[in-house]
Amino acid sequence: MRKLVQVLVLGVAAAVAALGLAACGGGDDGGGGSEGGTAKVVIGTAPDYLDPQEEYTTQGAEADWISYTPLVTYKHENAPAGNDVIPGLATDLPQISQDGLTYTLTLRKGLVFSDGTPIKASDAACTFERMIKVNWGGKSFFTDNVEGATEFDEDKSDDISGVTTDDNTGQITIKLVKPYGAFTNVLAFPEMGLVPCGTPEHTLTTDLPPSSGPYMITDIVPNKSYSVVKNPKWAGLNVPGIPVGHLDRIDVTIESNTQTAAQQVLNNQADNFDAGDTVPPSLVSQVRSQASDRFEPVTIPSTFYFFMNVNEPPFDNELARQAVNTAIDRPALQRLASGFLEPECFFIPEGLAGHPDGECPYGPADGHGDIEKAKQMVEQSGTAGQPVTVWGEQRSPRTEYVEYYTDLLNKIGYKATPKIISDTTYFPTIGNAKTQPLQTGFADWIQDFPNPVDFYLLLTTSSIQPVNNENFGNVSDPMIDSTVAKLEPTPTPDLDSVADQWQALDEYVAEKAYVTVYGSEQVPKFFSDRIDFDSAVVHPTYLNDWSTWQLK
């Protein structure tokens, strides 16, 4: 009898222990991290703006994306899932008419801003109007496509005729002037994050509108610091797909000396080194060895290339352009980037549908280039000895890229000189048709949204303009124009069905050597040991997703 009791007691004890372990092990709020707490972020470059309709940099987006939610938004996940659009403040993804010209959405019921005011359908219309009135840098994505938007922009009408809203039903209807397959992505821009009607239509610097997301931005000292704190009203709204956030508060300090910033994170005095900054080359090996469990380079869909003007000698000559592509040593550029560059030769970056996975036409992407062969090609083309001006930006490593490229051009037979100008004036300068000479130089493009049309607007004839040109090489090829026109109306979720056509186009562009692509950028995912590294998301477009952070 005693033995039985002993066995029974042991058995029960074991069962209890097993249950206890099971309870502790699984079934938690995912990841096993804790709730609440504060984190400290050091950012090297201040956000251009914190105003939700104005900002156009990743630094600004990081704060605004989680504070102002658009009608649709992106999954809060790493690539590739992070490229998928999900409903934001709308109940569902937009219903698109058969001809691709009408988009219908319905606002979720019961939503409120952080100050308690209800969110209405007309707030969406006000947000679009504000975005146009404050002259957001990307507003052409909207004004080029939505009916009546250009007239509104030119002050010819009081509102956008193509946008109608009904506050009673919560319905929002948008009419386009042409079918634009990426329009859902346009609606997902953080700059379309809803703000209340009546928000002043000029840039706000310290007094931002009430928030419509999991966090809100407070305590702004321009160029020095700001914070985001939890929006108390958000959790109760139960918006699916958008995290409510774990941390209570995130304090951001601008520390322009990236050496100091990296050191602070390495020593756990700060929690995050912003992904928009570059880890100073001298600290990279130290960081890699000392912080191997909390540091990782993440490739983002971006294309770094040298543009070549096809309207000016020597690059009006296709053989000359091919020579450059033959000579280029992409690993050299990778070293100049302290290793934070993935060598690539195709214009559509990896991670995007349509990225060719075949061989590069003029030598492997990770090869060191063939200078001798390139020299012969230059000789053959008859352009040898011509003077070439190479434009570049001042900041590192971009100025180093251009110095390498200039030397390369000299090695293959040209008389190249660099022209390095301040970052602020760079794109306005090379985008101005009056700039002479405009032969070649640095360019880059980081995806606005995961659709190849975003990249191909840099290569179409219709995008060439005398001021603020983005097609720096003045590439004008009917094959490109017609293919893009054909593929443009394909809605983003259906991209896979046309991926092979994009791929074929991209391979064609690489063969014609219209540009010299050398790589995609990698950003640092770098945390202190307080933050749970694995659950922190680096979004392919908006980089650090603060709403996914939690303390260990």
Partner: protein, 350 residues
């Protein structure tokens, strides 16, 4: 202005004393020897000044020999990139630039004697060519400053009145603008567009741009004290004497007054060269001086500061060279000042 001033203003060397230029050697105690010969003799006795002056000359010669080093020892040019090259040093092969972007330090052999920079360029070659540029800018800027300061001082001090008013106020204006800010503003503005004089243009990448900017910025530094001297000199008897003999204004300015301020000008020259080299370094460090691809000590230091913890040589080498050059010319300039000031002798005995 203040922050980048190097050596002290020359004070007022007694070489100002009227009659000095007339060789009143009775005061000096030696019959029939001109004042400049005396100064030279004093200078020759100042071993420290001579030593440092020689150091400066050695640096200049080294920099002039840049092409020799580049072609026969290092076998490369100042802008040739060797990023993915490998070199063999004492049997071991290593990357010129590591995959993480860290360049190699000094190899003490022909190639990459003093190491490589982030773009895989030979530091020793760039140091010498950069030195040529820095020194060239220093000398051209000094020439510009001296020339304009002298002319302005003479004209303003002699004619006085409205002419003086306008010139002095212009000097005040340039001087009130903090030197560095003016340098950066002009440097940034002109680097992009260059200077267009109608007849000829200077490209934004030319070395003439920083030279002209530095030259112009330092004109008031020299012009103001010189003008003061001219003002007092013009009241002296020998000027009146000359005028009563029928001499015209120009003749008086250049034959009578100029020789008397000559020693001040001579004292200023080494100071200005030192100032110019330092200002060029500061402007290049901030990106408003010498433009790529031209190397200069300032741009090399600016580039090197980014990599200080892992590639000290990129900062220490051009920095050290710069300090030695400026020190050399400062000590020598001090010696020149002492030599031209006869009371120095009295001082030492005291």
């Amino acid at each position: 202005m203040a922050v980048d001033r190097t050596a002290p203003s020359p004070g007022k060397p007694a070489a100002l004393e009227p009659g000095f230029a007339l060789g009143d050697s009775a005061i000096q105690g030696e019959a029939g020897v001109g004042p400049y010969k005396l100064a030279l003799r004093r200078l020759r006795r100042n071993k420290t000044a001579l030593a440092f002056g020689a150091m400066f000359v050695v640096i200049v010669i080294m920099c002039l020999c840049a092409p020799l080093w580049a072609n026969h020892v290092a076998h490369t040019t100042p802008s040739a990139n060797h990023i993915t090259d490998e070199i063999t040093v004492r049997g071991k092969t290593k990357d010129v630039v590591s995959p993480e972007g860290i360049p190699t330090g000094p190899t003490w052999t022909g190639k990459f004697f003093l190491g490589a920079d982030a773009n895989g360029r030979d530091v020793a070659v760039r140091l010498l060519y950069g030195g040529r540029n820095s020194l060239e800018i220093g000398f051209i800027a000094t020439f510009i400053s001296c020339f304009f300061a002298t002319v302005i001082a003479l004209v303003a001090g002699y004619y006085r009145g409205v002419v003086d008013g306008v010139l002095s106020r212009t000097m005040d204006l340039i001087w009130a603008y903090p030197v560095i800010l003016l340098g950066i503003a002009l440097g940034t503005a002109l680097a992009v567009g260059g200077l267009d004089f109608g007849l000829f243009t200077i490209s934004g990448a030319s070395l003439w741009i920083p030279a002209i900017i530095i030259g112009v910025v330092y004109v008031p530094y020299m012009a103001k004290p010189l003008r003061g001297q001219v003002l007092s000199l013009r009241e002296k008897e020998f000027v009146e004497a000359s005028r009563s003999q029928g001499a015209g204004n120009l003749r008086i300015m250049f034959r009578e007054i100029l020789p008397n301020i000559a020693s001040s000008i001579i004292v200023f020259i080494p100071l200005m060269v030192a100032n110019a080299i330092l200002l060029e370094a500061a402007l290049s460090f901030l990106g408003a001086g010498v433009q790529a691809p031209n190397p200069s000590w300032g741009t090399m230091i600016g580039d090197g500061i980014r990599l200080i913890p892992s590639a000290m040589h990129l900062t220490l080498i051009p920095g050290g060279m710069l300090v030695l050059a400026v020190l050399g010319i400062n000590v020598f300039g001090d010696g020149v000042r002492d030599a031209l000031d006869p009371r120095a002798e009295v001082r030492i005995e005291h």
